[in-house]
Symmetry: C2
DNA sequence: GTAGAACCTGGAGTGTGCTCCAGGTCAAGC
DNA sequence: GCTTGACCTGGAGCACACTCCAGGTTCTAC
C-alpha cells in the first residue's frame, strides 16, 4: 500500500567526484570510513560508494577539524557522539568549545612566534646592511 | 708565547640543565645533534656534553622554527647554511622570509577555520535552546 | 674508594596519518 | 560482448619526529 513514487532522487557522487570536491584522496576517504569518521556511505548494487550531499558536508566539517589540529582519535569520539543522535549535542558542544579554546591558544602562540621570527628577520636585514659585524647569529 | 690566563670561564650547562631550560628531552637533544641541527656541542674530558649560552640561544631559535611548523629537513638546511658562516646570510634571510610568509598563510587559514567552528558552536547552542529541530547537524 | 645518579652510544621501536599494493569486481562506451 | 578505466578489499609500508633500550662510562657525594 505504500505509494512508491520515483522521487526526484537526490543526486549522489562517486568517490572520484568527492576526491575532486574535497581534496581528500581515495585512500583517505576509505581510511576515514574504516576508522568510523564517516558512517558507512551508500552503495550501488555493485558495492560502489555513492556519497550524498550530507556526507560531503560532514567531510568538509571533518576537514575543518583536521585543519585546526584535531587528532583522528578525537574526531572518532566526535563522530561516535554524532552517531548517537541529538542526546549528545551537549557533549559535542563541549568538545567543540574545548577544541576552539585550544585553537585560540595555538593561534596566540603562533603569533608570538611569528613576532620573534620577525625580529630575527630584522636582525638579518641589519646584518646585510652593515656587514662584518659578527658570526653565527 | 700565548698567555693562557684562566679567563673567568663562561659557565656551561649539563644536558639535564638544558632539558630543564628548553623542555626538550635528552633524546631529542641528542637527536638534534646527530641530525646536525646543532653543531657538535662541547665535551668534558669524560665526553659529557657541556652547553654554552650560544647553544642554548640557538636551541631556542630551533624551537621557535619547530613551533611554527618548520620540518626537521628545512631546519637542517638552515643549520647547514649557518655553519657556512656570514656568506649565507642572504640565503638564510630568504628561507626565513618564506617561512614567515607560510606562517602568515597558515595563521590566516586557522582564523578562517576558527570562524567556521564558531558558526558550528552557535548552531549547537541554538539546537540546545530550541530542541527537537533536526538530526545529524 | 665506592655507591648511585647522570651520562654516553648505536640502533631498534613507536604513534600518527596516511599511502601503496595485489588481486580482484563493476560500469560505460563502442 | 568486450575493453578499459573506475572501483573494491585487506593488509603491508611509509615519512616524520621522536622515544626507548641495552650495555657501558663518568661524575659526585660520602
Amino acid at each position: 500500500m505504500t505509494s512508491e513514487q520515483p522521487l526526484p532522487q537526490e543526486p549522489t557522487l562517486t568517490i572520484a567526484q568527492v576526491v575532486e570536491r574535497t581534496g581528500l584522496s581515495h585512500d583517505t576517504l576509505r581510511y576515514y570510513e574504516k576508522a568510523g569518521l564517516i558512517q558507512r556511505v551508500g552503495r550501488t548494487t555493485g558495492n560502489q560508494r555513492r556519497y550524498e550531499a550530507a556526507d560531503l558536508a560532514w567531510l568538509e566539517f571533518l576537514i575543518r577539524l583536521r585543519e585546526t589540529g584535531m587528532s583522528i582519535a578525537d574526531m572518532q569520539r566526535f563522530a561516535a557522539l554524532r552517531a548517537r543522535g541529538d542526546a549528545t549535542v551537549p557533549d559535542r558542544l563541549a568538545m567543540l568549545r574545548e577544541h576552539r579554546a585550544d585553537l585560540a591558544d595555538r593561534i596566540r602562540a603562533l603569533r608570538r612566534n611569528a613576532a620573534s621570527l620577525d625580529d630575527k628577520i630584522d636582525h638579518y636585514e641589519r646584518l646585510l646592511d652593515q656587514p662584518g659585524s659578527d658570526e653565527l647569529s
